[in-house]
């Protein structure tokens, strides 16, 4: 199986107020929950978030920064994945990764296609 290059990270990076950052991980063992998790999202502290950055194969596709969106409150941050669950292999195949924020009854979502790296946007009512 081909190994990923060190700079080919794909996923979001959460930046914190204290200057630290956390990269999105899959198949993660959470010490907090004491169980295996599909992602490390439960470890992301939204209260400390100042920016979310979506990276695809090492290149930054979109950054949502509180400097640009000062209205974002901890509960307004949004990150999900769209994918298919392979029942046989018991694995999730990610189709797109999404980050965004909520504002005025709207969730603004930016999605990066896992295969092509194409950035798309969507707007949803809350």
């Amino acid at each position: 199986m081909p190994q990923k290059e060190p700079n080919s990270f794909t996923g979001f990076v959460a930046y914190y107020t204290d200057g630290k950052s956390v990269k999105e991980k899959e198949n993660f063992y959470s010490h907090k929950l004491e169980k295996n998790c599909a992602t490390n999202w439960c470890e992301i502290d939204k209260n400390k978030l100042i920016a979310l950055e979506m990276v695809w194969n090492g290149s930054v596709k979109i950054r949502i920064d509180k400097k640009e969106y000062p209205h974002i409150k901890p509960e307004d941050w949004f990150f999900t994945q769209s994918g298919i669950y392979n029942l046989k292999e018991r694995k999730i195949r990610v189709l797109a990764r999404n980050i965004g924020y909520k504002k005025d009854n709207i969730t603004q979502v930016y999605s990066v296609d896992e295969e092509t790296g194409i950035l798309r946007s969507a707007v949803r009512g809350n």
């Binding site: 709207i106 603004q108 946007s121 707007v123 949803r124």
Partner: protein, 352 residues
Amino acid sequence: METKEKKLKVLLVADTANFALTDVYYGYQRAFKSINLDFEGFPFHKFREILSEKICYHIAHSTALISSNNFTHIIFIGGLNIPSFIYKNLYTVKTVIVATEDPHTSKPLLDNLDSIDYYFSNEKVIGNNKNLEKTYYCPTAGCPFECGKLPDSKITDRYRSDILFLGAVYPNRVKMLEGLIPLVEKHKLSFKVCGHVMYMPKKSPLWKYIYDARTIPHEETINYYNGAKAVINIHRDPRWNARDNTFKNPYKIPSKAESLNPRAYEVPLCQSFMLLDDSRAEAREIFTEKEVGFFNDGPSLIKAAEYFLVGKGKAKREEMAFRAYKKVSENHTYTHRALFIKDILEKDLIID
């Protein structure tokens, strides 16, 4: 006195014509779904393929009035061709127009205003007019579900160009586009003009660059926008009358047109670079020079095209297009407009 709240339910009716307004209809349809607004669609243009226009009107009218359907509102996209008997006979169902027209074409609709409950106009002069009580300003928009960036591998040579103009080739557009020919020839640029040509003068030198002479289907416009290095957006001259190809407009225009066309939002949603005619006030109210290249006449179009295609502006295109994309995605989609409309309609739903 007890008050109870009625639940908003909309019958969304497309315009009779199967052209740009159809895209607006589909844009609102997707938007209503995305905000969970209870609605049913009435794709008039589809029914019209098998039924007469008159029958379609009657079906729309009776569908709205069947009480078990529980419609509270009927929304017409465009609405210019709807006979006034429908507006006048909707009883408890409120009539809503979402107009995407120039000021002079709004005139017949404004004459029916006493029978229309809500009139959303893309023209500020109408929407914000204090003398017209039921009008609201609601600019046109783009649909992020329909418009977007395509992988480069999916764009064939057919859709690639250096400069693209897509739209009906109206007289004011012919004049401006003809001015680009020397620049195009000097730098051997690929220049494609796509759209219907019924108003093109027979001897125009622009014929050489007419690449696709028809009303381009929406799916293909996305391919063309994605394949272009710069998309030119020239607004129609509202003084000109398409019906008789003269400058004698039957409706004395109340003011200068200010609104942008849907293309102004669709091109940025494809993350494509746009050269935008700023003769409409909304152009500079919505976009900045950091997002699009502006021009206002033939010479300034040539200057802008030269700067962004062969000059120093070449390196700025991608960044500018991305800024415009973010601007439109976050502020000017049909979902944003649908929420605005929903809020206004829901305010009046509390009944005694």
